[in-house]
């Protein structure tokens, strides 16, 4: 279960605030995954006191609304990433960035499909630069794209381009994963699926033996 409470002293009317909060949730908490199980209790409550003295925001398309939306996105993404970083048994945070999709929503869906893949998560834990699993998870996300446009990078190492695997320095790629695991750092997976305007991100963590151990014993 994830829970969140967000507060601000900006002055914003109820309709706009409720839309903003949902947009931010879609760009943050709805883009994280640890185990693919959606809880019975997930909740985010967001309160705006209006005590900052800022002007009242009553239109979601005005400049001030965009400024507040950007701050809200940042706070929720910061918190969401820390949840994925603290996934049960995790040794590293996985950040999947997808570009070139037709829309933000489609890019986000591909990103979370990859971040959710147990095989990708296990490969990261095994320090295995497994481009095939990344490609497969992108491919079953339910979002059409030309497979010959698929490009995959692990950190700054190009694994796949134009839908074809490349020869790459395997030990360098594996070391990239190992180093991230040693410092509980971040593994970056960068995927391009074409030249569309849409980009999105998702966050997850690697799948370790500890996850099974923790959840075999935490009984309901």
């Amino acid at each position: 279960t994830m829970l969140g409470v967000i507060t601000t002293d900006a002055l914003v009317n109820s309709d706009v605030w409720r839309k903003m909060v949902q947009i931010s949730v879609n760009r943050s908490f709805n883009q994280i995954t640890v185990d693919g199980d959606t809880s019975t209790n997930d909740t985010v409550i967001a309160l705006a006191s209006g005590l900052s003295g800022s002007i009242s925001i009553s239109n979601i398309n005005c400049h001030e609304a965009m400024q507040l939306q950007a701050c809200l996105d940042a706070v929720m993404q910061g918190l969401a990433k820390s949840i994925a970083w603290d996934g049960e048994g995790a040794t590293c945070l996985i950040e999947v960035t997808v570009t070139g999709a037709e829309s933000e929503a489609k890019a986000a869906k591909i990103a979370r499909s990859v971040a959710s893949s147990s095989l990708v998560k296990a490969a990261v834990y095994g320090r295995d630069p497994n481009w095939g699993r990344i490609a497969a998870a992108a491919g079953y996300a339910g979002i059409p794209f030309h497979q010959n446009d698929l490009r995959i990078m692990l950190g700054d190492i190009l694994l796949m381009d134009n839908g074809q695997p490349l020869s790459f320095d395997r030990s360098a790629a594996s070391n990239y994963l190992r180093k991230a695991g040693e410092i509980h750092g971040t593994v970056g997976i960068y995927i391009s699926v074409g030249d569309g305007p849409g980009s999105g991100q998702a966050w997850g963590c690697d799948l370790s033996y500890d996850y099974v151990k923790i959840n075999a014993e935490y009984t309901t």
């Binding site: 279960t1 994830m2 829970l3 969140g4 409470v5 967000i6 507060t7 601000t8 002293d9 109820s14 605030w17 903003m20 909060v21 949902q22 949730v25 908490f29 994280i32 995954t33 640890v34 185990d35 693919g36 199980d37 959606t38 809880s39 019975t40 209790n41 997930d42 909740t43 985010v44 409550i45 967001a46 309160l47 705006a48 006191s49 209006g50 005590l51 900052s52 003295g53 002007i55 925001i57 400049h63 001030e64 400024q67 507040l68 950007a70 701050c71 996105d73 706070v75 910061g78 918190l79 820390s82 949840i83 970083w85 603290d86 996934g87 049960e88 971040t186 996850y211 935490y218 309901t220």
Partner: protein, 217 residues
């Protein structure tokens, strides 16, 4: 009393380490404080005897000095917990809220009418203490599915929780610890930026480590 409650707040807020927070780049700077950074908010986290094991703080409260514009996003899981159903109803009734009460230890999910009544009773008791309308109190619960909240312990702890409220960094930190379950770290962050030329603050706290694949709407 104030001195002892602030030392216990600081103790509570350090019960587990704080998570590294990966804030995206942008026209803001990170400031301390979490949910209490923004003007008008207070928070507290205490041990209320709700957890099955250990004495980590397990009851948190965030309040606003004024009617705050309120929004919520909730799990779309069909087996929605009692606090989720309650909050949806409360936000349908009221556009504003003044308090969020969070318990860790029992999810109060799959607990039927009795579980829902527990939520109503908790919200009502806190509303009376804070002199609010019940629908201005929102509730979040996390923990073991199928278990009702330890209502007696919760209700008995409310006066101490309310007395512990503070606009301080420790208040926010203790609340961020109190909402955790299997988390190894607490999650809390705040930023300061400008909206229309006026300084504003946005802050927040979160918990989560297992059963994580949110689809909130």
């Amino acid at each position: 009393v104030a001195a002892s409650s602030s030392s216990s707040m600081s103790e509570a807020s350090n019960y587990i380490p704080a998570a590294p927070i990966f804030l995206p780049e942008g026209p803001w700077q990170q400031i301390p404080g979490g949910v209490t950074a923004a003007k008008g908010f207070k928070a507290a986290g205490i041990y209320g005897g709700l957890r099955a094991k250990g004495e980590k703080p397990d009851l948190a409260l965030v309040t606003c000095d004024v009617d705050a514009t309120a929004a919520g996003a909730f799990t779309t899981n069909m087996v929605a917990a009692a606090p989720v159903l309650y909050c949806k109803n409360a936000l349908d009734i009221s556009k504003t809220a003044r308090a969020v009460l969070i318990n860790a230890g029992q999810a109060n999910a799959a607990t039927g009418d009795a579980g829902y009544q527990d939520v109503l009773e908790s919200a009502g008791a806190l509303a009376m203490l804070l002199k609010l309308k019940p629908e201005e109190v929102l509730i979040e619960s996390t923990g073991i599915i199928g278990q009702r909240i330890k209502k007696g312990a919760l209700l008995n702890s409310l006066p101490k929780l309310v007395n512990s409220l503070s606009p301080s960094i420790e208040g926010a930190g203790s609340a961020a610890v109190a909402i955790t379950t299997t988390d190894l770290v607490s999650k809390s962050v705040a930023v300061e930026s400008q909206v229309g030329g006026t300084n504003i603050k946005v802050g927040g706290m979160a918990k989560g480590s297992g059963m994580i694949h949110p689809n909130m709407a």
